[in-house]
């Protein structure tokens, strides 16, 4: 077998020779120091947490040297593709791959018969590797082909004969839940139903001076990470099956591949390649099992790269959702009751629907103190591509409904949108709807930060002359968001070691998926260890080198893995000091590692000198950190403490709407965040600006269009993404001063949340500008125009 690997196995970047590596390391330091001011070489006393250090992986990315999975070439490598279902729901009566197997260049065809009996899935294993006797959505994988070239594989896939007996396709949750509906899943069409209640909902509604009742609907969204899923599998001479894949969670694939293939864990290795965007969409199953099985079958390396059309038709999506909701408030704007019903289209398999559903229920009413609350959620199976995790796990939609209704309530009660939120917003010591008591809540600080801006712009817009059919408006929306998995423990670990040359390596289980988390972890680990950040290499996302620390998702990496890196860094420092003390026969408490320097009484030596001193013991000086906060919640009611902490924010947006066209543009954004301490401001600003862009997309243009069970806009031509002309450059990130007592150096997390308030704030701004209240996403121009026409028609 010829699986030769020309560069160090698993390197994420084409680093070049040792001399080249040393050169580019110097270049990186020169650039960083020259442009942003000298990079401080200091330790815990004044480390780099809080400093805008440019990410070191960007060096390789701007040079075109990042090894995305589709860039990996191996000798003798085959190319694979899936054969996918042409029907949304059908029995498979026959499957014949014989013609395909005889096609030019074809080396193997894979069917359910090769894949064993094991099912795959993230929380519940419910999905066949390849469909056996039934397909549940159009695009479901039925077979896979490996051939010498991608074109040969694609041509052969066309020759696979599948005989279908079409079944009635269930296209909406309402159809799925109707009596007598065809069952999609053996356990019925209810994927999950959840309920939570606090106080007395009827009493709360009765107590209200005003009750609003509204329906909201939000379309399906595709993640549109720009890198289509890709991976490569090969068996090395020791019999280790290695799968290199773009993923947010390599350890999940490691366990699943071992289970499905019946292979010992130590004979499977999963290496995360550079990830070209994830947003929740790369936590699921794509190419992994198929390339692994094909590599074993052909004894050759096998690579598979999805097409963009496959990304749209066969990867998980954000759930379409409907919300029916009543909100009650007293005359002075205090909320008395929230009664919410959520209905979600889960698609054909479970994927992360259970997580999304749980998060929606826990976050109902967040971030406000609502004494009487009732929430009912149903997620139904349909014959659509499965819905899974996507940035905010559904909260962008529940927040849309809640924040739209609050903005309307404020107007009806004659309160400013900021004031009504201040009167109800969480403060320290408040309890959430699940009964959790909150700490270090910075929500009101975010409102305070925006209030003067809101007043000023409100007056300026009111004073400005109206130009033609253009109208400007302001809108406000808040969010509260739990960090990490919902209601179950999800520890992170880190290990820190050193060599005799003074290079420190931090092994962290959660991978960098393009957000820059490796840089933030390096900053935290180096500060805790007392060494310069320049010394620290972070190794993440390799099942043989790192522990399973959960996925990079749920805004958890800075908080969970950051805490683990902090504990490991301090542990490392203590052990290193003890080792130096041992060599010098000095008492351990007289040796101090700080600011990259070791001091023993009044004598000092550099960290590097100290590393040489303890070189023979260096492999044994390992700092270990585990962060595993108490998390407990009931799986059905979610009562308890589902998250260790919460992050909060308020966004103020200014929009311009053309009432003649219905077109809606985002003009300015002021994003005030309580994310605790900001570890790396460039990174956090980048997360917020990117979140605003995604929020804008979901607000005005993004929608997966499904007709009769088929995605009919599986290309960027018909599924529009925000471009440079759509996203405003006027995005101001405001980080309010707050310190989370449980976070690493006071940090919480910021990744997902910045998209959450944008659609609701834009809808409120439309109401401000044009006196119509959108209740649907996306707010396309036809829809807004219809609302405006209805408004004008209603006028006397």
């Amino acid at each position: 077998m010829s699986s030769h690997w020309t560069e160090p196995e698993g390197e994420k970047f084409a680093l070049g020779t040792l001399a080249e590596q040393a050169h580019w390391k110097r270049e990186y330091r020169r650039i960083v120091e020259g442009v942003r001011g000298r990079l401080p070489d200091v330790g815990d006393a004044g480390g780099t947490v809080g400093q805008p250090i440019p990410r070191n992986d960007a060096l390789y990315k701007v040079r075109g040297r990042a090894r995305y999975a589709a860039n990996i070439e191996m000798e003798g490598m085959l190319h694979a593709c899936f054969v996918r279902s042409e029907h949304p729901h059908a029995r498979i009566l026959g499957l014949d791959t014989s013609k395909a197997e005889k096609a030019p260049g074809v080396r193997a065809a894979l069917t359910a018969a090769d894949a064993g009996e094991e099912l795959i899935g993230t929380l519940v294993a419910d999905t066949p590797v390849l469909a056996r006797d039934r397909v549940r959505y159009a695009g479901e994988a039925i077979a896979a082909i490996a051939a010498d070239t991608p074109a040969q594989a694609a041509a052969a896939a066309q020759l696979v004969a599948v005989e279908y007996e079409p079944l009635p396709a269930i296209l909406t949750p309402e159809e799925a839940l109707a009596e007598g509906a065809v069952e999609i899943d053996p356990e019925g069409n209810v994927l999950i139903a959840l309920h939570n209640e606090r106080g007395d909902i009827e009493a709360g509604l009765a107590e209200a001076d005003l009750v609003l009742e509204n329906d909201y609907a939000m379309a399906q969204i595709e993640h549109c990470f720009l890198e289509p899923p890709a991976g490569i599998a090969f068996v090395d001479p020791d019999g280790v099956l290695t799968v290199m894949v773009c993923t947010q969670y390599p350890h999940y694939h490691h366990k699943q591949i071992a289970r499905v293939l019946g292979r010992p864990m130590d004979k499977v290795r999963v290496v995360q390649t550079v990830v070209g965007g994830g947003f929740g969409g790369k936590m699921d199953n794509t190419v992994e099992i198929a390339v692994a099985l094909l590599a074993l079958k052909t004894e050759r390396p096998v690579r598979m790269v999805y097409t963009r059309e496959e990304v749209f038709t066969a990867t998980t999506k954000r759930h379409p959702m409907k919300v029916k909701q009543r909100l009650g408030a007293t005359r002075d704007g205090k909320f008395t009751a929230l009664d919410a019903e959520y209905l979600l289209d889960g698609g054909a398999y479970r994927s992360y629907s259970i997580t999304v559903s749980g998060r929606c229920v826990i976050h109902a009413g967040m971030p406000y103190m609502i004494p009487n609350l009732r929430v009912d959620l149903t997620t139904a199976f349909t014959n659509h591509v499965p819905c899974g995790a996507m940035r905010s796990f559904g909260i962008v939609k529940t927040a849309f409904a809640l924040e739209c209704q609050i903005s309307e309530m404020a107007e009806r009660l004659g309160l400013s949108p900021i004031e009504i939120r201040r009167r109800n917003g969480f403060v320290d010591g408040d309890t959430t709807a699940t009964g959790q008591t909150l700490h270090d809540v910075g929500l009101l600080k975010t409102l305070d930060a925006l209030e003067p801006i809101y007043r000023k712009r409100k007056a300026e817009i009111a004073a400005a002359p109206k130009v033609g059919s253009l109208r400007r408006g302001l809108g406000v929306a808040c969010l509260g968001y739990g960090i990490g998995y919902s209601g179950v423990r999800n520890p992170s670990t880190a290990r820190i070691r050193v060599d005799g040359e003074g290079t420190v390596t931090a092994y962290c289980g959660t991978p960098d998926i393009g957000t820059g988390s490796d840089m933030s972890l390096a900053q935290i680990a180096s500060q805790a260890a007392g060494v310069s950040v320049n010394r620290v290499n972070v190794v993440s996302g390799d099942s043989t080198k790192t522990d399973d620390s959960g996925p990079t998702s749920a805004s958890r990496t800075t908080y969970f893995s950051g805490n683990a890196a902090l504990i490991a860094g301090r542990d490392f420092r203590r052990r290193f000091e003890a080792a130096v003390a041992g060599k010098l026969r000095a008492p351990a408490d007289r040796v101090r590692l700080e600011a990259d320097t070791v001091t023993v009484d009044n004598e000092a030596m550099s960290f590097k000198e100290a590393c040489r001193l303890v070189a023979d013991e260096a492999p044994g000086i390992v700092g270990y950190g585990k962060f595993d906060p108490d998390i407990e919640a009931d799986i059905l009611t979610l009562k308890g403490n589902p998250y260790p902490t919460y992050t909060f924010a308020t966004h103020l947006v200014e929009i311009e709407i053309d009432e003649a066209l219905g077109s809606l543009a985002l003009a300015r954004v002021w994003a005030a965040h309580d994310a605790g301490t900001i570890v790396n401001p460039i990174g956090s600003e980048g997360q917020i600006e990117g979140g605003v862009a995604q929020g804008l997309g979901q607000a005005v243009m993004e929608k997966v269009v499904r007709e009769n069970g088929y995605v009919v806009n599986p290309h960027y031509r018909d599924y529009l993404l925000p471009g440079a002309k759509d996203v405003p450059l006027d995005i101001e990130c405001i980080f309010v001063d707050n310190y989370d007592r449980t976070g690493p150096y006071g940090a919480k997390g910021v990744a997902e949340v910045s998209l959450i308030p944008i659609p609701a704030a834009m809808a409120a701004a439309v109401a401000d500008a044009s006196a119509v209240r959108p209740a649907r996403l996306p707010m396309e121009s036809e829809y807004l125009l219809r609302l405006i026409e209805r408004r004008d028609g209603a006028k006397p």
Binding site: E27, Y28, I31, V32, V35, R36, P52, P54, R55, D57, A58, L59, K61, V62, R63, G64, R65, A66, R67, Y68, A70, N71, E73, H223, C224, F225, L226, E227, P228, V274, V275, G276, G277, F279, T307, R308, I513, G514, T515, G516, I682, G683, E685, G686, I688, E689, G690, G691, A693, Q694, H715, Y716, R717, L721, G723, A724, K725, V727, L729, I731
Partner: protein, 153 residues
């Protein structure tokens, strides 16, 4: 059907026999091993595969290699000089214009062409030039700021 062509890629001459329907991006990635140019939509919309052909930015997924016989191609791998990053590459690094990095080579090539043609573009001209490249991570602000910083010297 195959066609013999000569391409100069980042200053280096290549004599190639290519299929009549082979796209430039395939030739760069699969034949020349230059994987810095990325593939995504293959419809000329996302801009991930942008390269310069005779100094003009093009989507290399839409261009057949046979169409550009004897022309010169520049890719992201050709931006650095003597072991130093180009000013644009450096600005993308320092301004945080890179997150996942998949779109980065395309943006760099588009911006390189812009600044060669118009060394002092205003903000609106920069945004106009970049409108054909999609980025899903950054929200564009830091990319525009990086280009602006180079334009302002």
């Amino acid at each position: 059907m195959s066609v013999a062509i000569r391409l100069t890629v980042n200053g280096e001459r290549h004599d190639l026999t290519v299929g009549a329907t082979e796209t430039l991006v395939s030739v760069l990635r699969d034949r020349l091993g230059m994987t810095g140019t990325h593939k995504d939509c293959c419809m000329g919309i996302c801009g991930s595969c942008t390269v310069l052909v005779d100094d003009r930015p093009v989507s290399s997924c839409l261009l057949l290699a046979a169409q550009i016989d004897s022309q010169s191609v520049r890719t992201v791998e050709g931006l650095e000089r003597d072991g130093s990053l180009s000013p644009l590459q450096e600005a993308f690094l320092t301004f945080g214009a890179v997150q996942c990095g998949y779109c980065t080579p395309g943006f760099l090539m588009t911006a390189t062409a812009l600044l060669e043609e118009n060394p002092r573009p205003g903000r609106a001209e920069i945004v106009e030039a970049l409108k054909g490249n999609l980025c899903r991570c950054t929200g564009y602000k830091k990319i525009v700021e990086a280009v602006e910083a180079v334009a302002n010297g």
